[in-house]
Amino acid sequence: MGQPNLDKLRQELRRGTLVLAVLAQLREEHYGYSLRKALHDHGLAVEEGTLYPLIRRLESQGLLDSQWREESNRRKRFYHLSDTGHAVLDALARDWADMNGCLKSLLKGAGT
C-alpha cells in the first residue's frame, strides 16, 4: 500500500478517537493551546487546524462549556466538560472498551 493511502487511513482512524481523547482531557479545564500541548504530552499529536474546530463543534453540541478569561494579560477561552459532556464521555469510554476488546480479538494473529 502506498504511503499516501496509509496516511489517509491513519487520519480516518484517529479522527474517530480524537473526540474521545479531547473529551477525556477536558475533564480538566484547558484553553486551546494548552489542550493541544496536554494531548501532545500524552503522545497524541493533533493539528491545530483539526483541534480548534473540533472543540467548537463539541461546544455547539453542548458537550463543553466555555468561558473567556484573562490569564497572563491575555484573554483566553477556557473549555471544560459540561454535565452532558461527562455523561457522553462515560458512555463513549464504555463503547471504546467494548470496541477495543473486539478489535484485539480481531487483530489477534494479524502480525501487529
Binding site: 493551546y33 491545530e48 487546524g49 483539526t50 480548534y52
Partner: protein
C-alpha cells in the same frame, strides 16, 4: 506579530462572519503562544512566526474546518445530478445539431460554423444551468424534509428485483445520432453526394426502385428505434419491455434487409453504367449486410440479457439469488 496578523486576516476572509471574531481571537492566542514556544519564551522572529503558521496549514482549509461541510447540491444527489446533466446535455446538443442541419438544408440558411457551434454551446449551457438549479432546489428540500428517516423496506417495489441491465450511454448516443441523421437523409432534409467517382469521371447514382416500397416502413421502424433509444438513455437501464422492443425492431429490420437483398438493384447508375461495373451495387449490398450484422449483434445481446446467458457482470448486473 505581523505575519500572524496577516495569516489571521486570510483565515478571517473565509470564515462565517457570525463566528469569525471569536474564532480569530482564539486562534491568535494559540498562534502567538506556539510562536513563543518555538522562540523559547522570547519574542518570536519572522521565521519563528512562519513556523507556527505552517503548523496550522492553508487559511482556507482552516476556515473550512470551522465552517463545516457546505454543499450546493450535496453528496446524496451528486451522482443523479451528474448523470442527468450528461443525458440532458447530450439530448439538447443532438436536437440542436439536428435542427441546425434541417434549417441549413431546407431553408438554405447559411451561418458560420463558429456561430453555429456557439449557438449549440449556448443551448447546452442553458440546459446544464437549469438542471443544476433544479438539483440545488431538490438538495435543499431533501435536507429540510429528510425523507431518509422514514424510509423502510415496505417502500421497495418488487419490480425493482429484476436484473439491472445497465446501458452503455456512449453506444446509445451513437445510435441516436445515427438514427437522427438517417431520418433527416431519408426524408430529404439533408443530402449527401450522390455521385460515384470513376477514372472516366463522376457517375450520378440513385437508390434502386426497391427502396420506394420501404419509404414509410423504414420511417416507422427507425422512428421506433429512436423513441426506444431516447427512453433507454433517459432511464439508463434496460427493462424487459425495452429489451423485447429491441428484439422485435431488430427482427423487423433483419426482414427488411433480407427483402432488399432479394430485390436488386439496390442502386441505379445514370448513363453508361458499364464503366463502373457492378461495384456500387456490391458496395450497397455490403452496406446492407453490415447493417444486418450489427442488428443481429444487438438482437443477440438483448436476447442474452433476457434469457440470462449474457456474461454481463461487467455491465453492472445485479440479480437476486
Amino acid at each position: 506579530m505581523k505575519w500572524i496578523t496577516a495569516y489571521l486576516n486570510e483565515v478571517g476572509r473565509h470564515l462565517d462572519p457570525a463566528t469569525s471574531e471569536g474564532v480569530l481571537e482564539e486562534l491568535r492566542v494559540s498562534l502567538e503562544e506556539a510562536a513563543r514556544d518555538i522562540a523559547s519564551g522570547n519574542d518570536p522572529s519572522e521565521t519563528q512566526q512562519k513556523q507556527a503558521i505552517n503548523a496550522f496549514g492553508h487559511p482556507m482549509k482552516v476556515a473550512s474546518e470551522f465552517n463545516g461541510p457546505r454543499y450546493l447540491i450535496g453528496p446524496l444527489w451528486f451522482g443523479t445530478h451528474l448523470s442527468t446533466l450528461k443525458i440532458v446535455t447530450a439530448i439538447v446538443v443532438s436536437i440542436s445539431i439536428g435542427l441546425l442541419l434541417t434549417v441549413y438544408v431546407t431553408d438554405g440558411q447559411t451561418t458560420s460554423v463558429l456561430r453555429s457551434l456557439t449557438g449549440v454551446l449556448d443551448t447546452a449551457l442553458t440546459a446544464a444551468v437549469v438542471v443544476t438549479i433544479v438539483f440545488i432546489v431538490l438538495g435543499a428540500s431533501a435536507e429540510q424534509i429528510d425523507p431518509y428517516v422514514d424510509w423502510t423496506a415496505d417502500k421497495l417495489s418488487l419490480r425493482g428485483a429484476q436484473p439491472l441491465w445497465r446501458v452503455s450511454v456512449g453506444d446509445q448516443l451513437f445510435n441516436l445520432a445515427s438514427e437522427v441523421i438517417f431520418l433527416l437523409w431519408w426524408n430529404g432534409a439533408i443530402v449527401f453526394t450522390n455521385v460515384f467517382p470513376t477514372l472516366e469521371g463522376d457517375i450520378p447514382i440513385a437508390l434502386g426502385p426497391v427502396w420506394q416500397a420501404l419509404y414509410w416502413p423504414l420511417n416507422v421502424l427507425v422512428a421506433g428505434y429512436l423513441l426506444l433509444h431516447v427512453s433507454i438513455v433517459v432511464r439508463c437501464v434496460w427493462s424487459r419491455v425495452t429489451l423485447w422492443a429491441e428484439i422485435a425492431l431488430g427482427l423487423v429490420l433483419l426482414v427488411a434487409c433480407a427483402w432488399v437483398l432479394l430485390h436488386p438493384p439496390l442502386v441505379v447508375l445514370a448513363g453508361d453504367a458499364s464503366a463502373a461495373g457492378s461495384l456500387p451495387h456490391r458496395l450497397a449490398i455490403a452496406f446492407v449486410i453490415v447493417i444486418a450484422g450489427l442488428t443481429l449483434w444487438d438482437l443477440g445481446s438483448a436476447a442474452r440479457k433476457l434469457f440470462g446467458r449474457d456474461g454481463n457482470a461487467g455491465m453492472g448486473t445485479i440479480t437476486s439469488p
